[in-house]
Amino acid sequence: MKYTFHRKQLAIPYAIFLILFVILPLLVIIFYAFTNDNGQVSFHNFIAFFQSGKTVGTLLYSIVIAVLTTLICLLIAYPTAFLLAKTGMRSGSALLLLFVLPMWINFTLRITALKEILTLIEGNLALHPFANTIICMVYDFLPFMIMPLYNTLTKLDDSYIEAAQDLGAKKSLVFWRVILPLSVPGIVSGVTMVFLPSMTNYVVLDMVYNSTYIMGSLIGSYFSAYDWHNGSVISIILLLIICVITFISNRYAEGEEDSHVNPLKKAEARKG
């Protein structure tokens, strides 16, 4: 028999991986989330989650932590990435390495070190559990924000900036009207890489003595009490949140792309 190679076959390894480790677990989670102990279909766990002030409180708390972490990461990462990518620094990539290097060290190790520094500054870490959580989260996730921003900004065509300047735009106007909109895809992927993990990364909270649960710790506590149903409910809620975020950010990113990246194509599309 003659063997013919189809390009489609290249997808087989990933398809197997996808089915075994993404789709099957997801089905198991959905099954547990919508059934009760007797195996009957039930929405009770979902309703209970949103009826309890405590669990909703934890959802809000996780969102507050995630939003703050993401915002601070963005505020630090954007100027940094911009400097590295745009100011013609020769050593840009070497400097980038400095920022990405921490990613290669295990994060519990890094947080342990940071904890000691914070103890030196604050004395008793437990007096500021919330602030410490944010600091450690930012420290942990900053590289994930810098990388995509740096990539987008280096690919940004300088001729756009020059064109804007030629047409008399001030520096600030160039930034707000040209550079920032063009870097939206980088911002979007940075935000998605930081936001959700910071809602669930409860190891950081444990390490900085924050005894309040976030969504991740809630899953852990349900699972260790053999409560697969409620744990799965939390996972589904997180899944829905990421779906919503991805949906919104994709819409936004597409819109931006449409209006700025390729004006010519847009015009063509309109004509057609």
Binding site: N124, A126, L127, S211, Y213
Partner: protein, 470 residues
Amino acid sequence: MLKKCLPWILGLGLSLGLTACGQEGESEVITLRVANWEEYIDEGEWDEEDAYEFSDGTVICPENSIVEDFEEWYYETYGQRVVVEYSTFGTNEELYNQITIGDVYDLVCPSEYMIMKMLREGMLTPYSEAFFDTRKPENYYANGVSPFIAEVYDGLTIDGQKVNQYAAGYMWGTLGLVYNPEEVTAEQASSWKLLLDKDLYRRITVKDSVRDAFFAAASIHFHDEITAREFVNQENYSEALHEYLNRTDQETVDASEEILSAIKRNVYSFETDAGKADMVTGKVVANQQWSGDAVYTMDQAEEDDLELCYSVPEESTNLWFDGWVMLSEGLGEDSRKQQVAEAFVNFVSMPKNVIRNMTYIGYTSVISGGESNLVLEYVEETYGADHEEEEEELVEYDVSYFFGEDKDAVILTTEDQTRRQLYAQYPSQDVVDRSVVMECFDKEGNERMNRMWTNVRCFDLKNWFEILFQ
């Protein structure tokens, strides 16, 4: 058709052949699958300076681990090769999850409440009658178990089944408070109310476990009742105390939730493992701890010239123990394997192995040694005061409840040891009197308890300002 079936037939034949071989092979080597806590058995390789020498000439300075020594000992004693597949777990829940997911073990060592849960769910095989026969000297467990532990075990039943038929003890201890005497007075540490003490705001840690945290909260809730003189002096004090601290009704759980929420606002953190190190480095000045870990913490602190103490609060303490149980799913009907499992329990209950384990782990064995004086001698060696030192005041410390009345178990020791390692390893009679075994919760109690714990740990909208601006 035949062509299609052929591989299957061949496969079937092959596998049958293999199982036959397997059975044949088994007569040569029996595999015992053991699961135990991490770092909960001596691994050998002692230095010569750590060696113990006893009055009867016994010298303890092992090279190999207990597990390796068991394999060798079993072959020498019974002429049968065994291999121990030794694995470890981190929490009772982890072990239980592993077993329900499908891991198969023959002999495991969970804590008392998990033993009771497993027993209730019919997962355990009882020990054989031969195992409890005290006429046989090789029954080191039955002959060596402390009369005190035997009595506690004897009183434990679940669904009408006696726990002591299914479980052989390994290590035991109390739940108490490690504290730094320079920052915390002995009086403060004499009550679980310490956890609410505003003077120690954010300088105490509590165990991150529902059962341990709840025990402290319930003790605080019932403080006035269970420490009242009439209550303590009543005839059925033990039973009454046991009943109080095993309550899981809604009212008790609600009250505990309130207390635990207040504790959460007052303490440094709920910790799983960091408490020991934080105590030694001085980040916290008191922490809720199991006695064995308390010994470890005090030993570590001593190396840094820091003196820590251990206290068992006046209300009550949770008398806990880890024990060996045999799993029906692992053993099946294999009586030879059961014999190996029972021999393993007997081997770790041999006085010299008890001493090895206690030295390595820092916890207290349930074995007092029976005829042998080795364990008592070891305790005296470790904690007894040097008789030549007369500067310090020496006190008599009575542990005869544990070693039995026929042994002269009064240890002459320095005064500080009655608050430190000796007190943690072998609590005094009054501590034993006010200790209770916290049984496994029933289904409703368990649900209430988990909901309570989630409520305590989740973000409380009422306190949003306080929590966010810290």
